[in-house]
């Protein structure tokens, strides 16, 4: 077999589609998977083109066993999207070793489509849409290349399959709009939690040598009215109450509800789209009423906890009350948790707290004196702090004197507890970028923040942000853009380039629309749409009627298209077209003799009318090919008919 020429290039399409499908899954495949696929493809091509021998049965079986073991070693399971996709790519690569018949290639194309599906289930970002579309296109062209008949060039196959896919687009839209969706992401497959970045359930400031700045979105909030002012944009996430001197953790046992919240002050109603997280917390504006969602509850420390892991972007309707206050007394068990300190750790900090507490008349004064001490202590805010030792608070306060929000929140709560004031660390986000095009507030992972809460008798839980004291410029200066000072790269650029600002905002708005209205298009929204389109309001039946009506319309359209194509493709269309040209030429005084072939006629015409012959000849050639030659694709015929109509 020789190298495929341009007319056989379609034979490479299945391999191209497979590569594309593997590439869009690259983020969750095992690292060895893609190189192995490339190797298998190289081997396959060599076998086909150069007659290199294919591996025998034993070699193929061992290969399959090895890759399965590889998947088990990489993922410790064969279940789940990532492990499944890796196994599928590996086995498809193995299939290349024995791909001979059309049936084998159909199997490979099927696997390719499954890989595309896996990628769609795993990631639904807008920027991936063109990649998925391209992959689907390649798959369709690949299947087309296997359909039998003469081998066609890749260009023809791609053109034809594009037309086919375009014809299917209305069907896809209809199914998207009206095919009933089961509420909840039933296809969400567990696993992959470690891949999600952002807040976690514990915090060890001393261990971090460098805080990464991630521009990944954490949540989006679309407010009914104006958004809250920048200083009030604290988004409450996991509350960390257990401290071992180095690491803060969530308190696992439920502690009795100690204080009732009184929602007062201005209310901000907003709908929030929360990106997946690992800590099962619905990060919400401080302090928000729990949403109507059935599986979200408010804990005693005012976290909104989801009973299910948040593996897909979720939407919530929430109302935030930045000035809400907690009332009543602190329960004894809760007080115990919020005063607990590890014994024999951070002795100097404990001593400092005792001194300051002794001087202060009450708890509130003590809080202020600690703030004062921090403010005057010459502390530096940095994203690349030195590492801290075992007594992390002592190290920070008396040795390194530098750190970011987590360091100061940790040290502050330690001092509070040592001074007898119940306190805890609250993690979450601070700030957010206002997008004027999409009219929403975008909170990124780089807006992550940690602050403290202290209990003052009679005033309840109050927010105390030591970072604001140590580095006031971090919070006060343009909170809108900098948040906790984790200024994102994008926002830094924003200050300089106006058009870039607009572009990025438009892109973010587009993404928000995609996430909310396309990816988040659920059963309720379906029903609303069907009702608005006048299909009644009877739930499932409504959707069935809408879908049925749409399908009928689509089928009619397809039938009409097919009819039109069939009529245009009738051979006598060619004859009719040429007769028209004949008549035109005869009127011009250059009649073709009945026994004269069209090309011979061109030759004769060229003797007297070289210009006319030159324009006619290409048309005559195409005519001769279509009329006397082997069957050509319908596109050729339509192209000729167009050219014949255009002939003057």
């Amino acid at each position: 077999m020789k190298l495929p020429g341009p007319e056989r290039s379609g034979a490479l399409l299945p391999i191209a589609a497979l590569f594309m499908a593997a590439a869009i899954n690259a983020h969750h495949l095992a690292w060895w998977c893609l190189p192995m696929l490339a190797l298998a493809t190289a081997w396959h091509l060599r076998a086909v083109l150069r007659g290199f021998p294919q591996p025998g049965r034993l070699a193929r079986i061992s290969f399959a066993v090895i890759v399965t073991t590889g998947v088990l070693l990489s993922f410790r399971t064969l279940n789940g999207l990532a492990a499944g996709a890796t196994l599928l790519v590996a086995m498809t690569a193995a299939k290349l070793f024995e791909a001979r018949t059309t049936r084998d290639w159909h199997v490979i194309c099927g696997a390719t489509l499954f890989l595309l599906l896996a990628a769609c289930l795993d990631r639904q970002e807008l920027w991936r849409l063109p990649l998925y579309g391209l992959c689907l296109w390649l798959c369709a062209a690949a299947l087309r290349s296997l359909a039998g008949g003469a081998p066609l060039p890749a260009r023809t196959l791609l053109r034809e399959s594009a037309a086919q896919l375009l014809r299917a687009v209305p069907l896809a839209i209809m199914c998207f709009l009206f095919f009933p969706r089961l509420p909840g992401a039933f296809w969400a497959i567990a696993g992959d939690e470690e891949a999600i970045t952002g807040l976690s359930e514990e915090m060890s400031p001393g261990r971090i040598a460098r805080l990464s700045e991630s521009d990944e979105p954490a949540l989006r909030a679309r407010f009914d009215g104006a958004p809250p002012p920048p200083v009030q944009r604290y988004w409450r996430g996991p509350v960390l109450r257990d401290f071992d001197g180095f690491t803060w953790r969530r308190h696992r046992d439920p502690v009795g509800r100690t204080a009732a919240l009184e929602y007062r002050g201005p209310a901000y109603h907003y709908s929030e789209t929360l990106e997946p997280n690992t800590h099962r917390t619905v990060v919400a504006l401080e302090l928000s009423r729990p949403p109507d969602a059935p599986l979200v509850t408010q804990s005693a420390d005012f976290q909104l906890l989801s009973q299910r892991p948040i593996l897909q972007a979720q939407s919530y309707e929430l109302t935030g009350y930045p000035q809400a206050v907690s009332r009543g007394e602190l329960a004894a068990d809760a007080r115990q948790v919020d005063l607990a300190l590890p014994p024999d750790r951070n002795p100097r900090a404990t001593e400092l707290a005792h001194q300051l507490r002794a001087r202060a008349p009450d708890d509130a004064a003590f809080v202020n004196s600690v703030f004062d001490w921090l403010r005057r202590g010459g502390f530096v805010y940095t994203l690349v702090p030195q590492r801290l030792g075992r007594d992390s608070v002592d190290d920070l306060l008396f040795r390194t004197r530098e750190g970011f929000c987590g360091h100061y929140a940790s040290a502050f709560v330690d001092l509070m507890r040592a001074g007898g004031v119940p306190a805890r660390v609250v993690t979450g986000y601070q700030g957010g970028e206002w997008n004027p095009i999409g009219r929403f507030l975008l909170v990124r992972q780089s807006h992550a923040h940690a602050w403290a809460e202290v209990w003052l008798p009679g005033r309840g839980w109050l927010r105390a942000d030591p970072t604001a004291v140590v580095a006031p410029e971090r919070l006060s200066r343009e909170l809108l853009q900098f948040g906790d000072g984790f200024g994102s790269r994008a926002s830094r650029l924003l200050g300089e380039q106006r058009w870039l600002t607009t572009t990025l905002q438009a892109w973010a708005a587009l993404n928000a629309w995609w996430q909310d209205d396309i990816v988040g298009f659920n059963f309720t929204k379906q029903l609303n749409l069907a009702e608005r389109l006048g299909f009644g309001d009877r739930g499932w039946q409504t959707l069935a009627i809408a879908l049925g009506a749409g399908m009928c319309a689509w089928l009619l359209w397809i039938a009409w298209t097919l009819h039109r194509l069939a009529r245009a493709a009738r051979p006598d269309a060619i004859t009719r077209a040429w007769r028209r040209i004949d008549r035109r030429l005869a009127r011009a005084g250059h009649a073709r003799a009945p026994h004269e072939g069209v090309l011979a006629y061109c030759d004769r015409l060229a003797l007297t009318q070289p210009v006319a012959a030159a324009t006619l000849r290409p048309l005559a050639r195409r005519y001769a090919q279509l009329r006397y030659g082997p069957p050509l694709p319908a596109e050729e015929l339509r192209g000729f008919l167009r050219a014949a109509r255009a002939y003057r």
Partner: protein, 303 residues
């Protein structure tokens, strides 16, 4: 494809000013047909036949037909070998890939029919033993139309076995001048080397059969044949129709087309039909071309 172009060019080096005739001859041979060259002496029939044999890279022999030629001189003879006490077959000149039968109409009908049988069957039967002829096997025969004295004209049934009859005609003025200037053709002929090897020739012959013949073209050929049967007393035979398609396919291959066009049929029709029509219709020598043109003009091309 390019090898074929080279072959045409090589023949044109030797035979000046006759591109159409050269292509017709090559098309005939590529279509596995036997070729009859008919013309007055001295226009280069034999040279053309030689050149074709050389360029196609075929093993060839020349057989001069005379009135006393016997069939055994053509096909060979079985001789009793005294040593082995058996008859042994001595193959005649016909056992070659290209047989140049010079002045075929000067031999007796008996000798002619021996050759024509070999042409049709591509084998020779002597004393009940069948000897197949080499593959490929072509006969290129020449004859003089005007030299009627002592000549036995080929009967129409035997003319039918030649796929084409090609007349060279006198050269035009420039070609004749070039011919006069260049001197001996034989030297040129000696210098001509094979362009195709046997494998390429076979591939070309396969390619001829692979030329696509659409339904409209078959309609056209059938219309031509049917018209010939009403236009003349005796029309073209089914074998002639078959040969017409095949010869046209050979022409299409030389024209580097993938499908047969009406123009290709028209190009080869005079050569394929003329020698079959003129004798039947009593038109006499030289009238075949006129009859063929009449036939072509009478049948419209399928549009």
């Amino acid at each position: 494809m390019s090898r074929l172009r080279d072959a045409v060019a090589a023949v044109e080096q030797v035979i000046l000013g006759k591109p159409t005739q050269i292509r017709l001859c090559l098309a005939c041979l590529l279509a596995r047909g036997h070729l009859l060259l008919e013309d007055v002496p001295g226009v280069g029939k034999t040279t053309l036949a030689h050149t074709l044999a050389r360029v196609l890279g075929l093993e060839w022999r020349r057989l001069q037909f005379t009135s006393d030629l016997l069939p055994a001189d053509v096909v060979g003879v079985s001789i009793f070998d005294r040593v082995t006490q058996q008859f042994q077959f001595r193959p005649g000149p016909v056992f070659t890939q290209l047989l140049l039968a010079d002045e075929i109409n000067r031999a007796s009908p008996k000798a002619q029919s021996a050759l024509l049988e070999a042409m049709e069957e591509r084998q020779v039967s002597i004393d009940g033993v069948t000897h197949p002829l080499p593959e490929p096997f072509f006969v290129v025969a020449t004859q003089n139309p005007h030299e009627q004295l002592g000549a036995f004209g080929l009967p129409e049934s035997q003319l039918d076995r030649f796929l084409m009859r090609v007349s060279l005609g006198y050269p035009d003025r420039e070609s004749e001048r070039a011919l006069l200037l260049a001197g001996e053709r034989h030297e040129l002929l000696e210098a001509t080397s094979a362009v195709l090897n046997p494998a390429e020739l076979l591939a070309a012959q396969r390619a001829v059969r692979a030329i696509y013949v659409g339904a409209p073209l078959l309609d056209y050929v059938q219309a031509l044949v049917a018209r010939s049967r009403t236009l003349f007393q005796l029309g073209l035979s089914p074998r002639a129709a078959q040969g017409l398609v095949r010869a046209a396919q050979g022409w299409a291959l030389l024209a580097e087309e993938r499908a047969l066009l009406p123009e290709h049929v028209q190009a080869v029709l005079p050569s394929v039909a003329a020698h079959r029509l003129e004798q039947r219709d009593g038109g006499g020598a030289g009238q075949g071309a006129r009859l063929a043109a009449e036939l072509l003009a009478a049948v419209p091309v399928p549009v």
